[in-house]
């Protein structure tokens, strides 16, 4: 809709796109039209009536010419009734009055009605000070109350551990109910009764069965829904508010932290800013709690005489620098490896690899510590369009067809999941979800197609979808060389029928899915760590690139493939070269011309050969070839794919440096531990899954004794003789923006919430179409397929350290299909032992028909259950044996 129309609001004429709602047009005209029930993520409702305005059109006389009055101005025919601005779209020539006697009386009348049954308990209401009803009563209400009668009263109730409901305050705007349905897909809330007795609650007033996101609280314009964890903790005007980027997932939601003194008391969405506006998932809302954990490290630690003891910062820096220098001198820089960092800020990521490459001279750098196989540093870049303008989250929710490959977005990127649900509800988006488990998005209520592939057939599935796409020929608009390559790829790929046998999905279903994807004008392919951490990652990501070009999701101009990485700044880690074979901006170190600016800036000649990837470093360290490890922002003992090997590696290394907030199992094995500052305690940029750069503010000063990782890197670099002198992250960012292809031209000032996406006018890598074939390798172990994945309530090593998330997550469970469990003689709640090639774990079982028979599902990230003890996946995955343990028999 490109046409615009002219409207006049309270005498101000503006031009807005046709189809604009009066409330939005008024905002453009800087006229405040209040709203309660309307919400930008919900379809118009028109229920609360607070937005009533007078609407008129010019009177038309003979020949449809406007009639003008004595003063020459067109006469307006005002509609006899006031209209709701939130449901009425503007028309050309329309006049809107919000300040006429009629409009003012109507609005005041509604305002007065809203207060009829609203209690005057503002002094004890958590919403006080940021209550839209309070604000409006202040702005538009009367200064006395005509309502002198008894109010209708309800009893308040707790709807589970998060939501406190004070029904008397409710103004029945239905935002919470509709948000829960339209955005969260949970339908946990409903209206009970009707009329003045309408009350929002759950099924039979039970605790809410939902994602516990608390967005109902967020969208409630009054204090009817408040957060139990925050209840009576603070008055909003006592809080400083700082907008940070959520540290939990690559969606990059802006989180507004409310801080009093040194304490973070709550987290909220930002209402009008950020990719998320008001939205936060349960992790965003409660995940900050680890920041104020009493277990935080309060000083660096040094291993002296066998045990770790507190040390001064300078002492630790000097020691670390000296040891690194010694090892590099004795064994060569390649004996040093740098690991982790996709939870760091962009600037810190840059400094980390600059320290490795530019100061120490090692290219053994890899952030992807969970990876089980080597994945080229530019593979994901190519699969997502090589820097071409790419899909935004907003466009994702407007796509006609979205193909979600391999990940349960509920655990990996809850906001991305919500946008898909929103798209499905409001924009006609159709979902195709390829996942062995029936994950939330694959439920029938979302009207999509569930491709329930057999575990281990991931690569076959993507190849089969590509083959099916190419049956209709090569899509128009691909570069000529791509077209030719696709044509020959088509003959190399088997038929969808062959794919059907292996994946268990019929050839028809495969063809239909491919056809929908190819046919959609706006489409999206979403993938994440399920594929990049797969033993066949390199082939899988290549297969996704093939599918992207074959389906038209990649074109010469645009990319509609989104990588939803495992951490909030995984994209930044790739961009900043936390990969062994690429410099920042995906520069190939072997490319002399591209390399030169880095060498000049860093004042060092670079190692041209690719370094070791994380799984290779693990192996090399276990074998004693790598002698020093620096592990940042990563609990490698838990995240490395093979537990036995990582234990051996840490044992054998001469020097292990760990930056962390806590004395993790990894930190306990270190020789030097730096106490790091948390996300809330430092400033810096994170790059989300849209490649959007957003700056996180520093909400509080770092915990005593802790330092931002960037400061630690700089101190060690200087200890190693470098002349780094960055005073702020902005200094670092300026250097990044100068050197990094794709980042050139970006300025620090732009990088607010909803900052720019980086793009490259020229693709940063050429297309590569190639048969995606996994090297023949048997999967590790035998028995059931071991399925794992992210889970909503816990993510990474930080989420445990708070109060809410572990409580919501409950205990780790092994999920088995009821049929499978029956075959194994396992009942709900029984203790089971899961044994893999490398070892075993013991935990309780739960029956779950969303898990396919022939497999067992245990989510990542449960502290009490280290899946890497089972051994590293290989081939197409990991297989395990599951049996009921004797412990269950004695009832333990």
């Amino acid at each position: 809709m490109s046409a615009t129309v002219k409207v006049t609001v309270d005498g101000r004429t503006i031009e807005v796109p046709a189809g604009t709602l009066i409330t939005d047009a008024a905002r453009e005209a800087e006229v405040h039209v209040p709203i309660f029930c309307a919400h930008s993520k919900l379809p118009p409702l028109g229920a609360c009536r607070i937005c009533v305005v007078e609407v008129g059109m010019p009177k038309l006389g003979p020949g449809r010419l406007p009639v003008t009055g004595a003063d020459g101005a067109p006469e307006i025919a005002w509609l006899p009734k006031v209209q709701t601005g939130c449901t009425t779209t503007v028309a050309d020539g329309m006049h809107v009055r919000t300040d006429s006697a009629v409009a003012v009386k109507a609005r005041k009348g509604v305002m007065e009605f809203l207060l009829v049954n609203h209690p005057l308990d503002c002094p004890v209401c958590d919403e006080g000070g940021e209550c839209q009803l309070q604000d409006l009563a202040f702005a538009f209400g009367a200064d006395f109350s005509r309502m002198a009668d008894a109010k209708r009263t309800f009893v308040s109730e707790d709807l589970g551990p998060i939501v406190k409901k004070e029904a008397n305050r409710c103004i029945v705007c239905m935002r919470c109910v509709r948000y829960c349905d339209e955005m969260m897909g949970d339908d946990a809330l409903t209206a009970h009764q009707r009329g003045v007795l309408t009350e929002i609650s759950s099924f039979n007033r039970q605790p809410l069965e939902c994602e516990q996101c608390g967005n109902c609280i967020e969208v409630c314009p009054v204090g009817a829904l408040t957060a139990l964890p925050y209840r009576f903790k603070a008055r909003p005007w006592d809080l400083r508010q700082h907008i940070t980027v959520c540290p939990y997932c690559p969606a990059g939601c802006s989180v507004r932290l409310g801080v009093r003194g040194m304490e973070i008391l709550r987290a909220r969405g930002t209402e009008f800013r950020g990719v998320n506006q008001e939205y936060l998932c349960v992790r965003g809302r409660f995940g900050y709690e680890f920041v104020s954990s009493p277990d935080r490290l309060s000083s660096p630690l040094l291993r002296l005489g066998g045990s770790l003891a507190p040390a001064g910062f300078d002492e630790a820096v000097t020691y670390a620098a000296a040891r690194l220098r010694d090892i590099a001198a004795a064994h060569g820089p390649q004996a040093i490896a740098f690991l982790g960092g996709d939870k760091l800020n962009l600037e810190e990521q840059y400094l980390f690899q600059k320290l490795a490459r530019g100061v120490l001279g090692t290219s053994n750098v890899d952030a992807r510590t969970r990876a089980t196989a080597r994945l080229p540093g530019d593979a994901i870049l190519r699969a997502t369009g090589a820097g071409r303008p790419s899909l935004t989250l907003d466009q994702l929710s407007r796509a006609g067809e979205a193909l979600v490959l391999g990940d349960d977005l509920q655990g990996e990127a809850p906001y991305v999941q919500s946008l898909l649900i929103l798209g499905q509800h409001q924009n006609g988006l159709h979902l195709t979800v390829a996942h062995p488990r029936r994950v939330k998005l694959a439920r029938s209520k979302f009207g999509g197609e569930w491709l329930a592939l057999k575990p281990g057939s991931e690569l076959t599935l993507v190849n089969a979808l590509t083959a099916a796409s190419l049956e209709a020929g090569v899509p128009a608009g691909v570069p000529a060389e791509v077209g030719a390559a696709l044509a020959s790829l088509a003959s190399a790929l088997g038929s969808p029928e062959a794919g059907a046998r292996e994946t268990g999905i019929s050839a028809d279903d495969l063809r239909r899915a491919a056809k929908r994807l190819c046919a959609a004008d706006q489409k999206a392919i979403v993938f994440g760590r399920a594929y990049t951490e797969h033993p066949q990652a390199a082939a899988l990501v290549q297969a996704i690139e093939n599918l992207g070009w074959a389906s038209g999701a990649l074109t010469a101009k645009r990319a509609s493939v989104m990588f939803v990485g495992p951490q909030h700044d995984s994209q930044g880690a790739l961009d900043m070269g936390l990969t062994p074979d690429r410099l920042p901006g995906y520069v190939d170190p072997a490319d002399a011309a591209a390399r030169r600016p880095f060498e000049q800036q860093w004042g060092a000649a670079l190692d041209l050969s690719p370094g070791l990837s994380a799984p290779e470093i693990l192996e090399a360290a276990a074998e004693g070839r790598v002698k020093a490890l620096w592990i940042v922002a990563d609990e490698w003992v838990k995240s490395a794919p093979d537990r036995a090997r990582i234990e051996r590696a840490l044992e054998r290394c001469e020097l292990v440096i760990v930056n962390d907030l806590f004395l993790t199992a990894t930190a306990k094995r270190a020789h030097v531990v730096f106490a790091a500052a948390s996300f809330a305690e430092k400033e810096g940029v994170a790059v989300n899954c849209e490649r959007r750069l957003q700056r996180s503010a520093r909400a509080i000063s770092p915990r005593r004794g802790a330092r931002p990782d960037g400061e630690i890197f700089q101190a060690v670099a200087r200890g190693l003789g470098a002349t780094w002198s960055y005073r702020t992250p902005e200094d670092v960012f300026r250097e990044i923006a100068r050197l990094t292809p794709g980042y050139q031209g970006l300025s620090w000032a732009q990088l607010l919430p909803l900052g720019p996406q980086w793009t490259s006018p020229a693709p940063l890598a050429g297309p590569r179409i190639a048969p995606a074939i996994a090297p023949a390798a048997a999967e590790a172990g035998d028995g059931l397929w071991m399925l794992s994945g992210g889970t909503l309530f816990l993510q990474g090593s930080l989420s445990y350290r708070g109060a809410q998330l572990p409580k919501l997550a409950g205990e780790a469970r092994a999920r088995l299909h009821p049929d499978q469990a029956q075959r194994l003689g396992i009942g709900d709640g029984d203790t089971v032992e899961i044994a893999g090639s490398g070892g075993s774990v013991t935990l309780a079982a739960t029956l779950d028909d969303a898990v396919p028979a022939g497999s067992v599902f245990v989510p990542y990230a449960f502290r009490e259950c280290d899946l890497n003890r089972l051994g590293a996946p290989a081939g197409a995955g990991l297989r395990v044996r599951v049996r009921k343990t004797a412990a269950a028999l004695v009832g333990a």
């Binding site: 946990a188 009970h192 009764q193 009707r194 759950s202 039979n204 209520k445």
Partner: protein, 173 residues
């Protein structure tokens, strides 16, 4: 209202009890599903069928209805409570629903209701201890020409007075 709350709490235990439904009701439910292009539309007929069998709609029945029409349970709860004729708590065998709207009121409905209260010893929304009668005030029954009137379950009784009502009660076992 807190009485309501404790009642609801008491009834929640019913969620654990399996729901037993007759084949006839199941068949009725199946039939109602054929009348609409989607399952959701059958929610009212399904609730009616369950209420006709059970007499009221315990939470387990609502759960069952939700599964039949493939709607969230919460939503079915919201629907059931919206309509006054769905009973969310048990009612007596004979549900006396006395119209109290204007035409009936003009013709003596208030007196009639007071009489029933005294006679049965129960008030609005209550049930006699023997489970025989429940009493309710309702809005216009579309029988204003025969005011005052009441419905016993689905049966209309019009042009009533105290004596007629007394005789009516005697016929109701």
């Amino acid at each position: 209202m807190s009485a309501t709350r404790s009642l609801v709490a008491a009834l929640s235990s019913d969620l654990l009890q399996p729901l037993r439904i007759s084949d006839a009701t199941r068949a009725e439910i199946e039939k109602s599903l054929t009348r609409y292009p989607n399952r959701r539309s059958a929610v009212m007929p399904v609730l009616w069928a369950l209420q006709l069998e059970i007499g009221w709609l315990p939470p387990a029945a609502l759960r069952y209805a939700a599964s039949v029409v493939e709607l969230p349970e919460s939503e079915v709860f919201g629907i059931a409570t919206f309509y006054t004729m769905f009973n969310l708590r048990p009612v007596g065998r004979h549900h006396l629903q006395v119209c109290m709207t204007l035409s009936c009121s003009l013709m003596g409905a208030d007196r009639l209701f007071r009489h029933l209260e005294k006679k049965l010893g129960i008030g609005h929304g209550e049930t006699t201890p023997d489970g025989r009668f429940s009493l309710r005030r309702v809005e216009c029954l579309a029988a204003c020409g025969g005011a005052p009137c009441l419905q016993v379950n689905f049966d209309y009784h019009e042009n009533l007075d105290e004596a007629k009502v007394d005789r009516l009660l005697e016929t109701l076992e």
